[in-house]
Amino acid sequence: MKNVGRAILALLAAALVGGVAEDGGPSRRVVTRDGWRVIEADFHVHTRLSDGFLSPFEVVLHARRNGLDALAITEHNVTHPAWMARWFSRMIGGPTILVGEEVTTDRFHLIAIGLRERVSPYGDLGAIIDDVHRKGGVAIAAHPVARFWPAFDAVLDKLDGAELMHPLALGPRDRARRGWRWEEMRDFHLRATKRGYPLTPVGSSDYHFFQGLGVTRTLVLARDDSAEAILDAVRAGRTVVRDRDGNLHGNARAIAILTERPIAPAEQVESAGDRGYHPKGVVDHASRIAGWLGMLGVVAFPLARRRRGPPAEGSA
């Protein structure tokens, strides 16, 4: 059994060494266009403190790995995970964290970013959006699928933006659940624009677990990478979102700037969530398999030598 234990330890050690050596994302590039800093942002992110897998600290590290310049931590009806992430991010030098909240009710989900304090989820949507604005934030309709339209349609004049790109767009097109279809999000945005409310388009990953943080993201044209500058840009509509069909959405000037000299957003829609899963080479692949086999060892074999007492009295 000693040999099995050593083998498990060796596998896990190899996996850790390989993981450390191969881990790391694109270095954060400073991209400017027409005097604006181009920020790659994800404004809808969850952590382990509600229904995600990663702690606020791990989310920050994962955002760096996935080449994001900014993200908003938006937990369901609370903001303390966002403050934790912001503290940690400042300690390690970014990315920029916006304190946010996903105001979550049975009638609508609303992304509030740039908050100074928590927003109560009780009351009607109009009053909640007013509260978001009072607390320094920006109000974005979260995944505005058809079931949420009645609530959002009533407050188009108050909303600052709407999610137009979301991982819902990346699933199999023919199997999308009715009432949770990406096309409904796109249609909501187009309809609002037609009615005279050009909501700032936002692409977010609604990240909960696995690899896909930032798999759908927003390009923001901001003065710099500070939270204030990013919020100003969202308020002014200086964002561009690429949808799953490659179409760009945003105000005409922002699209023109990014079309004139296109940037390659660190793999946006095309990767469909598999970006970080592809091994970089044989060593990387081998260390991953070592980790998985080591995991089997942890599950299947005793971690410590079994020391049993004598059979209990009266047992067979």
């Binding site: 702690s55 600290f57 009806n77 979550t104 598999d274 998985w292 942890v298 599950v299």
Partner: protein
């Protein structure tokens, strides 16, 4: 199974009642240490699962970060199972109860290992996950893990701790009420559930 010294989790996965009976007949000499080792096994598996499914690799930040941020899970489970032991006046020491309880996590450990395997081995993990999800395989596996976990809890109370049938049923029900109750309380305190239930 006899030729290979596999973990109690695996043995319980295959023969829940028989192996809990065997564990009762030959208890660990140092139950406290044994329980801690078993809880550690669950945490390491969770850490590896989170790290592999997040990055495809074993990365210290996620391995240890997840072990820390998910540590609430064994804590909540411990509170629930110890409360049951108290209510039903089990004569087994607390460490012994925890030792038996943490031996019965096989279904979840297996589920996590399979999930991590998809990420490590599949050429396009997201396509595989979408397929498993849209065809009901993933939900079925989750349900199976839940159901098998419940069977293991029944086996633990019945054979591992020697409760009668009626008390086993009651202990299992109380365990789940306490376990789910703690999670629900957390979300209620955070105002997460009430607005989604239409409470204005």
């Amino acid at each position: 199974m006899n030729g290979l010294d596999v973990s109690d989790d695996v043995r319980l996965l295959v023969h829940p009642f028989a192996h809990y009976g065997a564990m009762r007949d030959a208890p660990a000499l140092d139950a406290r240490r044994s329980a801690a080792t078993r809880a550690l096994r669950v945490m390491i598996t969770l850490g590896l699962f989170v790290s592999l499914t997040t990055t495809g690799r074993v990365v210290p930040a996620h391995l240890f970060g997840a072990m820390l941020s998910w540590s609430f899970a064994p804590l909540v489970q411990s509170v629930a199972v110890l409360a049951v032991a108290r209510i039903f006046a089990l004569d087994s020491p607390r460490a012994r109860v925890l030792d038996l309880y943490f031996a019965g996590h096989g279904p979840w450990l297996a589920f996590m290992w399979l999930g991590a395997g998809v990420v490590v081995l599949a050429p396009s993990p997201s396509a595989v996950f979408y397929f498993l999800l849209s065809n009901g395989v993933l939900p079925a596996l989750l349900l199976a893990a839940l159901a098998h976990g419940a069977v293991l809890n029944v086996a633990m109370f019945r054979r591992g701790l020697g409760l009668s049938r009626g008390r086993t049923a009651a202990a299992t029900a109380v365990f789940y009420v306490f376990f789910a109750g703690q999670i629900v309380t957390y979300y209620l305190l955070n105002d997460t559930l009430q607005p989604q239930l239409g409470i204005r």
